[in-house]
């Protein structure tokens, strides 16, 4: 397949991702965001001396860059390579298990303008939009980000971050089904397999509402990009019934991976690139995009406004936007890279993977990918209430 062809298809995928937050949602958010920004400004004024000194005087020298990301989302070598290349010490923590759970930890300190001891956090589109709207982020410094030119065209602007002022994508991925053929005894193809009574008590679903509800909606022939309250209620009813019958063993964050690797479960609603990271423990594991469709999303890097070393954060962002560096990450965390030229670089170091549907989805798979509709705050609360009731929490 030619590069141009693949780029064009990337455009389609990213077109979908751009719409992750609806125009309507964005407008209500901008109004709220203004208030947040005003608060942020007064905070900055209040402790201007300290902040100013840090930014202007190169106060980051000798300090450690602190990154929070999700598990199974990077290769073994990139951090060490980055340290060798830039001389910046980096501390990479895999402490994001679930968007809402992580947000709950950082919300209060950020609201009060306190440090969260992180210089980069990586959150999914809808949560990234909320972070911007609340005024919790520092804008990216383009003078330290020459590799921005490598950002794929169609993700250069998204409705919830116009012109990518505050965020750039880390990786994009798909939500489908991960399974252990030894335990299922057969190949899985459909979302309905998750509800097969043969696997009673041996399946898990995600606590991320958009992933779980979205996938179950697809099984009911509904499109998550136009989700209505009735669709969500119907999907939640199916989940609740399965939960009450004992079909679903657990609702998890990224920690489903442990259960899958340990052989506690046969199948899980799972993220596309995680399985390769688990292969060391359990080489049999497989991931599929169900015939009914799969969910598509992006996770985004952002700098909390209370970080006192944004220049180090920019150095990391610029580093991973080099196609060779991005390819090295994708080689072990096979997700969709937002960096132009990653495919070619990947072909050099991992030719098998370069043609894998995980990093380069074929046309028929692309056609089945859906992005959950952008929600207003009221809808978000309503859908979450319905979902939390369904999962029994």
């Amino acid at each position: 397949m030619s590069t141009r062809h693949s780029d064009q298809r990337d455009d389609e995928i990213h077109q979908l991702l751009r719409q992750a937050v609806s125009r309507r949602g964005f407008l209500t958010r901008t109004a709220l965001g203004a208030g947040g920004l005003a608060l942020g400004a007064s905070f900055l004024a209040a402790c201007g001396g300290k902040e100013g000194g840090g930014a202007a005087g190169g106060g980051s020298a000798g300090k450690t860059l602190r990154i929070s990301n999700w598990p199974l989302y990077i290769d073994q070598k990139s951090i060490a390579d980055f340290q060798a290349a830039t001389g910046i010490q980096a501390e990479y923590t895999e402490d994001i298990n679930d968007n809402a759970e992580f947000f709950a930890k950082i919300d209060e300190p950020l609201k009060r303008g306190q440090s969260i001891d992180r210089d980069i956090v990586v959150l999914t589109d809808w949560m990234a939009g909320r972070m911007i709207q609340l005024g919790y982020l520092a804008p990216l410094d383009d003078s330290k980000f020459p590799n921005r030119v490598n950002l794929v065209d169609n993700l250069k602007s998204v409705t919830w971050d116009n012109g990518r002022v505050y965020t750039v994508p880390w990786l994009s991925g798909m939500t489908g089904i991960g399974y252990n053929p030894k335990k299922t005894g057969r190949e899985l193809t459909s979302i309905n397999d998750i509800f097969d009574p043969k696997f009673k008590g041996q399946v898990t679903m995600l606590t991320e509402m958009r992933d779980t509800i979205g996938l179950v909606m697809l099984s009911q022939g509904k499109d998550p990009s136009t989700a209505t309250s009735a669709d969500v209620t119907a999907a939640a009813a199916r989940i609740k019934k399965a939960r009450e019958s004992g079909q679903i063993r657990k609702f998890t964050g990224n920690d489903y991976a442990e259960d899958l690797a340990a052989g506690n479960i046969a199948a899980a609603i799972a993220w596309s690139g995680d399985i390769q990271g688990l292969a060391a423990d359990n080489p049999d594991l497989r991931w599929i995009a169900p015939t009914e469709g799969a969910m598509l999303w992006s996770d985004n890097m952002m700098i909390p406004k209370t970080s006192d070393r944004p220049d180090l954060a920019m150095a990391w962002i610029n580093y991973v936007y080099d196609p060779a560096h991005s390819a090295q990450i994708v080689a072990e965390a096979p997700y969709l890279s937002p960096v132009k030229g990653t495919g070619e670089e990947l072909a050099k170091i991992a030719p098998d993977l370069a043609s894998s549907s995980l990093v380069n989805p074929p046309d028929d798979l692309r056609a089945r990918l859906h992005v959950f509709r952008g929600l207003t705050d009221e809808e978000d609360t309503e859908f979450n209430r319905i979902f939390q009731d369904a999962i029994g929490a």
């Binding site: 679930d98 939960r243 679903i248 506690n264 939390q388």
Partner: protein, 281 residues
């Protein structure tokens, strides 16, 4: 001279207040103020009437409340059954080993609650030692599991709160005058009779305190249900945590907390009446 005496008397009158002042301040700042804030949050309807949170708390979460009380009651009974004989042995029969045994009871506290519960996750894993052993003994079906079950949650609660049962019972047993037991035996009581008529009644304050120290925190616990239970084992603590942190429905979460507090308080008062412990009833 007279002045000094009067000053001394005034100081004496003030002394009790000065002594309780730090406690009162502590309670005001760390108990009364948070409770009032919580109460205020629970009646913030955000457009809905003020009782909206309570209405939803009472109409949608009955299952979780009943489950929490069932689990924590089971854990309290189990802890009592396990803890009483152990306390008895430590207090009356351990001899030189007494301090060592007491040390062992307290030892788990040197690691955090969370780490200990995670350890249970590993132990109860499907491929783990406990499941393997029970399967070899045919006590667990080959497809059966221990993790993410009611058994695991109740077991975890019992394990985590057992020391809170053992220590008060031990203290009340330790205080018992041995000559009372000897007197009972001199008066031809059997050892069992002496236990039933002398030791047991005198240790009841310990049983009472131990039960409360186990039941109350267990009823509000969320870690055990979250780590060791499945979606049908979630307790009210998990719901409150989830509503506060995931859904951020603060009025519902606060209302749930208040309902839990009221129910526990009523339960404790009823329990105190039944058990007839003088200090509390």
């Amino acid at each position: 001279m007279a002045g000094t005496a009067a000053g001394g008397a005034r100081r004496n009158r003030l002394a009790p207040y000065l002594l309780i002042a730090p406690g009162i301040v502590w309670l005001l700042v760390f108990f009364v103020a948070p409770i009032l804030t919580l109460a205020q949050t629970s009646v913030e309807g955000h457009g809905a009437p003020w009782w909206d949170g309570y209405q939803r708390a009472l109409s949608n979460y009955g299952t979780h409340f009943f489950r929490s009380f069932r689990y924590s009651l089971a854990a309290t009974v189990l802890a009592l059954v396990l803890g009483y004989p152990l306390s008895y042995v430590i207090a009356f029969r351990a001899g030189r080993l007494k301090n060592l045994l007491l040390g062992l009871v307290v030892l788990p506290f040197f690691t955090t609650f969370l780490v200990r519960t995670f350890a249970w996750k590993t132990i109860l894993n499907d491929g783990g030692p406990a499941a393997w052993l029970l399967q070899q003994l045919h006590l667990l079906s080959p497809n059966g599991r221990l993790l993410d079950t009611t058994l695991a949650v109740v077991g975890g609660l019992t394990y985590n709160f057992l020391p809170f049962m053992i220590l008060p019972i031990y203290v009340s047993l330790e205080k018992i005058d041995r000559r009372l037991v000897e007197a009972a035996e001199d008066l031809y009581s059997t050892p069992l009779g002496a236990f039933r008529k002398v030791v047991l009644p005198l240790s009841m304050p310990g049983v009472f305190a131990g039960s409360l120290l186990t039941f109350i925190p267990a009823a509000g616990d969320f870690i055990n249900a979250q780590l060791l239970g499945g979606p049908n084992q979630q307790m009210i603590g998990t719901v409150i945590q989830n509503q506060f942190l995931e859904v951020r429905d603060y009025s519902l979460a606060s209302a749930l907390s208040f309902v839990l507090m009221v129910v526990i308080t009523l339960g404790v008062v009823a329990y105190a009446r039944v058990l007839g412990t003088e200090e509390l009833a």
